[in-house]
Subunit: 420 residues, 2 copies
């Protein structure tokens, strides 16, 4: 069996629409499209028109999510369940045109292909465009998908943006219904799953010359703030063997984090912030604070790496006569992709003629909120140089079409469990 | 032969005067006594009174230096030359009571001991209290001793302090003579040398349980600004083996600097400042700037260490696929102490019953300007915990007396060359 091809017009539109949608942005480099802004509404209008043209039944829910339904084959009857496919429209500031938008456009292209072939599926296919995944405006995250999963925290409605406008007021002004967000929730008993195509945001697929890969899990992650306390001193008068240099100790600790991660399977550790005190060119640093962001494909690998890091830090501190304190400031439990969806996506990739590359996601995605209520699966799409959250973000046109065809193959083959 | 003892009253006054002088300070912790301020004038008045009491001929020169002469034995005749002994009165902000002041007070104590014994020397002993060594107010350095050495740069007279008052105006207001600074210069042909007692500002003597040590040289030093450029990336999505992490590279470079210094003889290297870009907890650093302050006892050891560091940095950058740029922003040629003065000070230390510990100075001192015109020598005095430039700076009373006795022994034994 060969993977179904996207009709030429559908493939062409899929590529062109990324440019059209990217034009809906605040001024400045790249794409800046934030929650409950005029750009949000304009993007929904455009997407909704494409969904309507494809024959979908569309609505915008109380949380500002756009949902287009490609209704099930009538033979499925009243009992027809729902498969969610999509992503988010919103971006970071000066982001790219593929992060989020691609997952929605690819799903719409699939419906267009189904419509062109006159195909109805044995389930309702709901193409979702989440209103807010990045959380750029309000410091939230996955607000749109949380609303669908029933995990929305109403307290954030009172949060202000940088201009002091609360989320509630912004939503009301945009025509959404902040006080009806509970109504956005899907009944978990009716959900078959959630599947998303997303750019990889990393260099793995490109390095292996593959257009797509199947996601195994979203990383378990933790963030830590570390403080190293040594002894400040005169850079000229304290011999090397009598120093308790907080920065030299921190440098060794950063490299220990790097080594621990490199020794782990799929583990990454990053120090992104570091501050030195007193911070004078001729003074041996007395104190350094820095961060460690640690992520791993699962809990065990995360916790093993964390334990190895703690052991290494203590050894370094003890040998150098400095003190180190490590405080956890964030933890994400991650999520594992559903084995059935993962296998089905793998089959679709193979059918399209590509080796199946499974990889885990170091970044968070809407699947994190939806896995609370439904099986989740994700398809990663190759991006240029691993660059994302950046105007330079790029996905080749051919890869967009491949992603569409793999997803179409998956959808065509997907069968709801016979029970229930 | 035993070292001459300071008379009990002289020793007692030497200790007490550190407290009296420290009280002449701007408000706040520690001692803050800056150039051409009321505190400067008050300190000179106090020191001058002590010099006068000891029988010295005193004057304040055009640059605000206080100079007290213990005139030579008349037998030395018209040809009598001058040995300068002293240090500076000025401090860093919130500094200690020993850095500078001790060298002046110890020299005055020596004259008091000579006077008590009715001893005249075969040379003029000029006790100098330099007006400005730290350069705290104007960002100059060793301005007072430069004036004596004829190396004063008149351009700095137009520099403003933090309140916009130029050095010229401040000097005039203090009663000094900015336009007559050239007159401060000593004729090099008449100078026998310059000798200074100064706190070590490091931990070496304390660690070796010695009250004093003989300085071999003032460090050759250089300061560098380094920039490492890697590739910023998502902390979750870029695998460890595909990163070009500018901070991990910089960490390795900092440790390379540490290792190069530790492998050198008396070499020290310090990274005191470091900045990370973009500096977000979940972003792999794309660029890091940091400093390296490198000092060594002589040119060869400095340059060898510098070359070894450059080689190490290049290897690290190349292996990690990052770029590194190193820009020198400061260079001090240092100076080597005069072998004759060094030997004479060593003899005095041994005579006082202590092992002779020779050590080099990582910090700059007035000897740097005076070595341009005369032989220079320095005696280091043990300080508590190596702490200096800090209100906690401390020298034991017994060590002050030992320093005085060693210097007195040196002075009593010092003979001008018979030629000239």
């Amino acid at each position: 069996m060969t993977a179904p091809a996207l009709p030429a017009a559908v493939a062409e539109a899929l590529v062109a629409r990324h440019g059209e949608l990217a034009a809906i942005s605040e001024p400045g480099p790249g794409v800046t499209r934030l929650f409950a802004t005029p750009e949000h509404l304009k993007a929904l209008e455009r997407l909704r028109a494409w969904m309507d043209q494809a024959g979908m039944t569309t609505r915008v829910d109380a949380a500002g999510n756009l949902i287009g339904r490609w209704a099930a084959d009538p033979a499925a009857g009243e009992a027809a369940k729902v498969l969610l496919v999509g992503s988010h429209h919103d971006t970071v500031r000066q982001g790219g045109r593929y992060d989020g938008a691609m997952g929605v456009l690819v799903a719409i292209a699939c419906v267009e292909a189904l419509a062109a072939a006159g195909t109805r599926l044995p389930y309702h296919l709901d193409v979702v465009c989440f209103s807010d995944e990045e959380g750029t405006r309000y410091g939230t995250s996955m607000m749109g998908s949380r609303a669908l999963a029933g995990g929305f925290d109403e307290a954030v409605l009172d949060w202000p943006d940088a201009d002091g406008v609360t989320m509630r007021d912004a939503m009301t002004a945009a025509g959404f219904e902040p006080d009806a967000i509970a109504d956005c929730r899907y009944d978990p008993a009716r959900l078959l799953g959630y599947v998303e195509a997303h750019i990889e945001q990393g260099p793995v697929l490109e390095a292996e010359n593959l257009p797509v890969g199947v996601v195994t899990a979203i990383a378990v992650g933790s963030r830590h703030r570390l403080t190293v306390t040594g002894t400040a001193g005169h850079a000229g008068t304290v011999p090397m063997d009598r120093r308790r240099d907080a920065l030299a100790a921190a440098a060794e600790m950063i490299l220990a984090g790097e080594a621990v991660a490199a020794a782990g399977d799929g583990v990454v550790a990053t120090t992104g912030k570091l501050e030195v005190a007193p911070g004078a060119i001729n003074v041996i640093p007395g104190a350094v604070t820095f961060t460690v962001d640690l992520r791993a494909p699962d809990e065990t690998r995360h916790d093993d790496a964390h334990a190895a890091l703690v052991t290494a830090l203590d050894a370094i501190a003890s040998r150098r006569g400095v003190r180190v304190q490590m405080e956890r400031i964030y933890r994400s439990a991650g999520c594992v992709m559903d084995p059935g969806l993962r296998a089905a996506l793998a089959r679709a990739v193979a059918e399209a003629g590509y080796p199946v590359r499974e990889l885990f996601s170091g970044a968070g995605h809407d699947a994190l909120s939806l896995h609370q209520v439904a099986p989740v699966g994700m398809l990663f799409v190759r991006c240029k140089d691993g660059v994302s959250h950046n105007p330079a973000e790029e996905v080749a046109a051919g890869d967009l079409v491949t992603a569409g065809e793999v997803l179409l193959s998956f959808l065509a083959d997907f069968a709801p469990p016979t029970t229930g």
